[in-house]
């Protein structure tokens, strides 16, 4: 059969967000592909430069719907470091609880999507049903299911009442039970193993070479997690493990994510049980001194970095957002070659892409001197 070009996206049922692959396929095998990103430039970085520190946080939360707490936390963490603020431990713990709940709901969502792309809709329905428990906890704590609005410069906005802590602890055992079941399913369910094993294989060297982050890298045996290697919030005090895997394929990435789900429940449990007393915020000054910082954070999808430059006013001079999806794209392009056409959605979904979060870069073609 001659080579055919299959154009997938920007509208395609497997991709809920705009991205375009031009896949050159020989029968059902992929020969090479071209990636086209940035269909959805939203101008968030420029908008962030025009708002003061109180008003910028809700905007940054809206960079991503799934990891909204990540973006707000990484930004306030950076600004607090520039201002030289010491955040009270109770605020640190509350931020950690929200962050880990967010990781749980993100990974459960991902597990459902991964099952959906192989047509296993039952697991999709079940994980999204169980995700509701996490969302209910988040709604109870923060007042909203998606954009939690917990952060402000200098601490958190809302305190956790004892009733909320108790309700969350009550929900945890059932959730742990379910997560145990998912760990078992991922490792034993033939219908998933047959589609996930040996698909999108990436060695440790390749993962390092192409700069993969997060669960994608950890599934290839890269033992790296910002939470452990550059501790922030309460992670230094909480006992937990970095989950790595040596499979390097989609199966490995699934194993890493369900392992992290379990670790997250344990972190949340520890934080809820050992929540320190005290104030939940310190008063932040209106202006930040001149400075530059690269703030790092382990978002559910991988390492998230905000580069922040302040100039002594109440606004940032520049904020540059590097989302984990951008770091993982190159690895997808490499993984896809020589795979089956049927495996495209599986491999793409395996990095948990969040495309509209990523669409903020300028690609400069140096040869033609054309900006885009």
């Amino acid at each position: 059969m001659p080579e055919v070009v299959v154009s997938i996206g920007p509208q395609h049922p497997a991709l809920k967000e705009p991205v375009n692959f031009k896949i050159v396929a020989d029968g059902e095998k992929i020969v090479r592909l071209e990636l086209d990103l940035s269909y959805n430039h939203r101008g968030i970085e420029k908008a962030a430069e025009q708002r003061n520190f109180i008003r910028v946080l809700p905007l940054l939360e809206r960079v991503c719907g799934i990891c909204s707490h990540s973006h707000a936390t990484v930004f306030s963490k950076g600004i607090e470091e520039i201002m030289g603020l010491e955040i009270p431990p109770r605020a640190q713990y509350i931020r950690t609880i929200i962050a880990e709940l967010e990781r749980m709901h993100s990974h459960l969502l991902w597990l459902g999507v991964a099952a959906h792309v192989i047509g296993f809709n039952t697991l999709f329905m079940w994980t999204w049903r169980d995700r509701e428990a996490v969302q209910d906890t988040l709604e109870e704590m923060s007042g909203n299911r998606v954009h939690y609005g917990m952060n402000e410069i200098g601490g958190v906005r809302r305190d956790l009442t004892p009733a909320q802590v108790e309700a969350a602890l009550e929900r945890l055992p059932a959730l742990e039970e379910r997560i145990k079941k998912y760990v078992e399913m991922v490792n034993s369910e033939e219908t998933m193993l047959i589609r996930f094993r040996d698909v999108g294989k990436m060695s440790r060297e390749e993962a390092l070479k192409y700069g993969a982050v997060g669960p994608t890298a950890r599934a290839s045996g890269v033992d790296y997690d910002v939470r452990r290697d550059d501790p922030y919030l309460a992670y230094a005090e909480v006992p937990w493990n970095v989950i790595t895997d040596t499979h390097g394929d989609v199966y490995g990435r699934t194993r890493v994510r369900v392992g992290e789900l379990w670790e997250s429940t344990q972190i949340v449990r520890y934080c809820l049980e050992n929540l320190p007393a005290g104030p939940i915020r310190v008063d932040a000054p209106k202006n930040a001194p001149k400075g530059e910082i690269l703030s790092r954070y382990e978002a559910p999808r991988g390492e998230l970095a905000h580069f922040i430059r302040t100039n002594g006013t109440d606004k940032v001079e520049r904020v540059d957002i590097r989302t984990p999806t951008l770091a993982n794209w190159t690895s997808v392009a490499v993984c896809l070659v020589n795979q089956n056409i049927a495996d495209i959605p599986v491999i793409v979904a395996a990095i948990d892409p969040c495309l509209s979060c990523t669409s903020r870069m300028t690609v400069v073609n140096r040869v033609d001197k054309e900006g885009r």
Partner: protein, 324 residues
């Protein structure tokens, strides 16, 4: 039995086309409802398939650029006509009045027609997703059709007849064929699932990979008719499996008034087809999609060999035990 009025009633009203279409819509509803409840969802209301059908019949029909619209209009009709004709030879009230020697073969080939229709549709659509889907449909046909045919022909070998009604009568005097051929029954179920392109084998219309495969360019009444054809083949397939393996719509003894046999047969038909549907829905819910190369592997290595083994067993049984 040869009264033309009776035959016309049989073909058009009961248990012919009218009953078939209502039952197909009910089957589609039940299939979705069972799947939904297994996933702890609510599922659709009972009128949903009918509402979908009526809605789609009224929608605008879009012709893709450069496609022969006459062929596009005809293909869903051919597919629907084929499976509806196939149903006439499947016994519903005990006997089928249209039965003849060899109707099993006719039914099997008529049921293969929708797949060919899908392939032609995909090929004509001038759409890369449809073309890939069409190729996948026909590749899949080559894989499952041989074991499926073998599995459904073994009852015929056992009963010594090529007529579905006679196979049912044979089971009335002896045991259900599933007791002699459990492997054949499983192969037939898998083959039926593959023929209907339901979940482990929905490779040709894999939503997340190739949009809707050959169905991508279907709109309006074409989509409605094609959907109906799929629903109808679900009924025909279940009825066929129920007739060939589960004794069909016949009690092992004859009841006193003649018409009571018909009613008992109809109730048995409903119970047995619904049992087959429950099995098919469970397979659909419990599995994810496999890849076409994996299907090729599994299909020829295991399913086809299982079907051949079954044929061998049946030949041995027939040799040792002379059918009375």
């Amino acid at each position: 039995m040869t009264d033309p009025v009776f035959i016309l009633l049989y073909i058009f009203i009961f248990p012919g086309f009218f009953f078939l279409i209502s039952y197909a819509l009910f089957f589609a509803y039940l299939d979705r409802k069972i799947a939904a409840r297994m996933q702890q969802r609510v599922g659709p209301p009972i009128y949903q398939p009918l509402a979908d059908l009526i809605k789609m019949l009224g929608k605008e029909v879009i012709n893709p650029n450069g496609v022969d619209w006459r062929v596009f209009d005809a293909i869903p009709l051919i597919a629907l006509a084929a499976v509806m004709t196939a149903f006439l030879y499947v016994p519903v009230l005990g006997y089928s009045p249209l039965a003849f020697q060899g109707d099993l073969v006719v039914v099997l080939y008529l049921m293969a027609l929708p797949t060919i229709a899908l392939f032609v549709l995909g090929w004509l659509s001038r759409n890369i997703f449809s073309a890939i889907g069409g190729i996948r449909a026909v590749t899949q046909l080559f894989i499952y059709e041989v074991p499926f045919f073998l599995a459904l022909l073994t009852p015929a070998i056992m009963a010594g007849s090529w007529s579905i009604t006679e196979i049912v009568v044979w089971q009335q005097h002896n045991l259900w064929i599933i007791f002699f051929q459990p492997i054949g029954f499983i192969v037939a179920l898998i083959g039926l699932q593959a023929k209907l392109e339901r979940t482990p084998f929905d490779i040709p219309e894999a939503e997340t990979e190739i949009v809707a495969g050959p169905w991508t360019e279907l709109t309006g009444r074409r989509l409605a008719l094609m959907d109906l054809a799929t629903d109808v083949s679900l009924v025909v397939g279940s009825a066929l499996v129920a007739a060939l393996f589960l004794g069909g719509p016949m009690l092992p003894w004859v009841l006193a008034p003649f018409w009571l046999n018909g009613i008992a047969g109809f109730v048995l038909f409903l119970v047995k087809t619904l049992a087959v549907l429950l099995l098919l829905s469970s397979i659909k819910v419990a599995t994810g999609r496999i890849r076409i190369d994996q299907l090729n592997d599994i299909g020829w290595k295991y399913i086809a060999s299982a079907a051949v083994v079954q044929v061998g067993i049946v030949l041995v049984i027939n040799y040792l035990w002379v059918v009375p």
